[in-house]
Assembly symmetry: C2
Homo-oligomer: 343 residues x 2
C-alpha cells in the first residue's frame, strides 16, 4: 500500500456546539503505530455519547481540537503496525476504537485503531450495517452476559427495546434464554421489539411500573432490568422499582444524587456499563475484551442469530451529512441506529 | 423427645428502645411446622441489625411484640417437622433463620427454624463460636464469592477488617487468592487483620484514600472494595473513590441520596448485601443458599481454614446479659463478634 495519501478529509469540530458545528478539514493521515492498524473508514454510526461530546457535555471525554469524533467504524485495513498478528492489509474490520480523548475518530477517511479493539467484519453485513453494531453490542453484552449473567428463565426488562443498545439487548437476552420484556413508546416500536425477540412489549406511557410488575412477574419484580435509554435519573429509580429481590439493574448512564434505598432493601446489584473506559484509559486488556467479543458477535450475525436495526434515513460523509445524522439522533424520531456511509 | 416443655423463657422486647428494654418473658414453645425444625438455643451473637431492630430504626424488619430478636443461633435440634430430611433430633446445627418479621428469634430457649437455612455445626467449634458465624459469613461470602467473584491476584480492600463481616471477609478474600488490604482504627486491630490474612493493614485515620490507592495499587484503584462498616454514606463515597476501573464495590448498608457519578465514570458494579432478604420474604431458595453455604463453611472451619473472631467479653442468656451485650456492640470497643451463650 505505497499509494496511501499523506492527508485525508475529515469532518471535525473546532469547538463544542450544535450539529452545524461540523466542518470539513484536511488532516494528516495517521500512520500505523505498534499494535495498531490504520483503517480506511467506510461507515460509522452515531451514538448518544457522540452527541454529548459534540455538544460539550463531556469535555473530559472529548478529543483535542480539531476533534475527530465517532467511535463506531467499519472499513478496510490499509496499514499494519509492528506486533499486529490478527489483521492484514485488505481485511474488512469493525469495532469501536476511539472518538474520545487520546484516540482517533471515525469521521475521517482513515482512523488509527488499537488492533486489540477490532474484529473481522461479519461477512453477511454491509459496511453500513456493521458500523451500527460495535458500541451498542459491546454495551449490551457487557451488561447482560458478563455482568448480569442472564440465565434461561430469568425475567429481563429492557427499557427502550428498539434503541441502539436496546435492540441488541433484546436479542441477546432472548438468546440467553431470558423471558424478555421491552418498553416502547409507540405501537410500531413495540411490534419491532417483539420481532427482535421480546416476549412482551410494554407501553410505559399507559402502564405504571407497579402494573407491569404485577402483570408480568406476579408482583415479584424482574431478575434483570437494563435501562438503555440513558436519562440516568428518573429511569434509574423506575429500574430500581421494577427489579425483584436480589435483582440486577444495569444502566448506560448514572449521574448526580440517586436514592439508593431500594438497592439496600432488595439487595440489588447495580452496574453502569460505560464501554469507553478501556479507550479513555489506554487499557489493552479491556480493548481486547471488546475485540474478542466482536469476533463472537460476527459469528452470531453470520449465523442469522443477531441483526442490527438501522434507521430508515441514511447519511453520507460530508459536513452536512454528519450534521443531519446528529440532528436525526437528537430528534428522537429515529428507530434503531443512525448510520453514515461513503456509499 | 416427649419431655419438651410447653413454655420457654425468652428475652423479649415489648417496644423499641435502648438496651435496657429487654425483659424476661414466658412464651409458648414453638412446635415444628413442615420443613422446619425446633432448635434448643445454646448460643447467639449480636449483629448491628439486631441493634437497629431493637432501637426502632427498622420497624418494617422487626417481629411483632412481644418480639424475640436475634438471627444467629447455634444449638441442638429437638423436634423435626414433616418433610425435613437433612436433620434429626440431636443434631448440632447453626444458622441465621430469623429474628425478623415472620420468623422466630434466638433470644429464647427454643427457636423455630426453616431447615433450609441451617447447616451442621462445625465440630471444631463451641456453640458460642459457631453462633458468631452465620450472618456475617453469609454476608461476606455472598459479597466476595457469589457477587464479586474474587479471583487470584485481585486487589481487595475491606473496610473494618476486624469487624463482624470484616474478619470473615479478610479470610475469604485471602482464600480466594486476593491481595487483601484491610482498614483498622488501632494498631491492635491492624495486627489482628494481618493475622487473619490481610497482606496490608491501613490506618484510614492518618492516610487518605488517594494516598493508599497510590501506595498499594499504583493509583489504579482496587478491584474489589467491601465496606463492611455499614455507615452507608461517607464510607460508600470513599469506597467508590477507592475502586478501580470496572471495579466492584460491595456494602452492607446504603441509604438516602448517594452521588453515583463514580459508578458511571468508572463503570463500577455496586452491590448491597442484605442477607435477611430471604427471611423477610419467605424465599426458600434463598434460605437454602444460606444453608448450603454454611455447610461449606463448616468444612472450611473444621479444616482450619476459617475461624471466628470473638470479642473478649462474653455474655449470658438473661435480660441483663443481653442488655450488656447490646451495649458492648454499641460501644464500638468490641473486637470481633459479641456473643451470648448458656455456658
Amino acid at each position: 500500500m505505497t499509494d496511501l495519501p499523506d492527508t485525508m478529509e475529515a469532518q471535525v469540530i473546532e469547538g463544542f456546539g450544535d450539529p452545524d458545528v461540523f466542518e470539513t478539514a484536511e488532516l494528516e493521515r495517521p500512520t500505523a503505530e505498534p499494535n495498531h492498524v490504520v483503517v480506511r473508514v467506510e461507515a460509522t454510526s452515531v451514538n448518544p455519547v457522540d452527541h454529548k461530546i459534540r455538544s460539550g457535555e463531556l469535555p473530559d471525554v472529548a478529543p483535542d481540537f480539531p476533534a475527530v469524533l465517532h467511535g463506531d467504524v467499519a472499513g478496510t485495513v490499509v496499514s499494519v503496525g509492528e506486533g499486529v498478528e490478527e489483521f492484514a492489509v485488505g481485511d474488512e474490520v469493525y469495532g469501536c476504537p476511539g472518538g474520545v480523548a487520546g484516540t482517533g475518530g471515525a469521521l475521517a477517511e482513515y482512523v488509527l485503531a488499537d488492533a486489540a479493539s477490532l474484529a473481522h467484519k461479519p461477512d453477511s453485513l454491509s459496511m453500513r450495517e456493521a458500523a451500527a453494531l460495535p458500541l451498542v453490542t459491546i454495551t449490551a453484552w457487557d451488561g447482560l452476559v458478563t455482568r448480569a449473567d442472564v440465565q434461561p428463565g430469568d425475567s429481563v426488562l429492557v427499557y427502550g427495546g428498539t434503541g441502539g443498545v436496546g435492540h441488541v439487548a433484546v436479542q441477546l437476552a432472548d438468546h440467553r434464554g431470558g423471558v424478555v420484556h421491552a418498553t416502547g413508546s409507540t405501537a410500531e416500536k413495540r411490534d419491532l421489539a417483539r420481532d427482535l425477540g421480546a416476549n412482551h412489549a410494554i407501553d410505559y406511557r399507559t402502564k405504571s411500573v407497579e402494573e407491569y410488575v404485577d402483570e408480568y412477574t406476579d408482583g415479584e419484580g424482574f431478575d434483570v432490568v437494563y435501562d438503555t435509554v440513558g436519562t440516568g435519573g428518573d429511569n434509574l429509580e423506575t429500574a430500581f422499582e421494577a427489579a425483584g429481590l436480589k435483582g440486577h439493574v444495569l444502566s448506560t448512564v448514572a449521574h448526580g444524587e440517586v436514592d439508593v434505598d431500594p438497592v439496600h432493601v432488595k439487595a440489588l446489584s447495580f452496574d453502569v456499563v460505560f464501554m469507553l473506559v478501556p479507550l479513555l484509559h489506554d487499557d489493552r486488556a479491556g480493548r481486547a475484551y471488546h475485540g474478542d467479543l466482536l469476533e463472537r458477535v460476527a459469528t452470531l450475525v453470520d449465523a442469522g442469530e443477531l441483526e442490527p436495526l438501522l434507521d430508515d434515513e441514511e447519511f453520507t460523509f460530508d459536513a452536512e451529512g454528519v450534521a443531519a445524522a446528529h440532528r436525526r439522533l437528537a430528534s428522537g424520531e429515529h428507530v434503531g441506529k443512525v448510520t453514515i456511509s461513503r456509499e
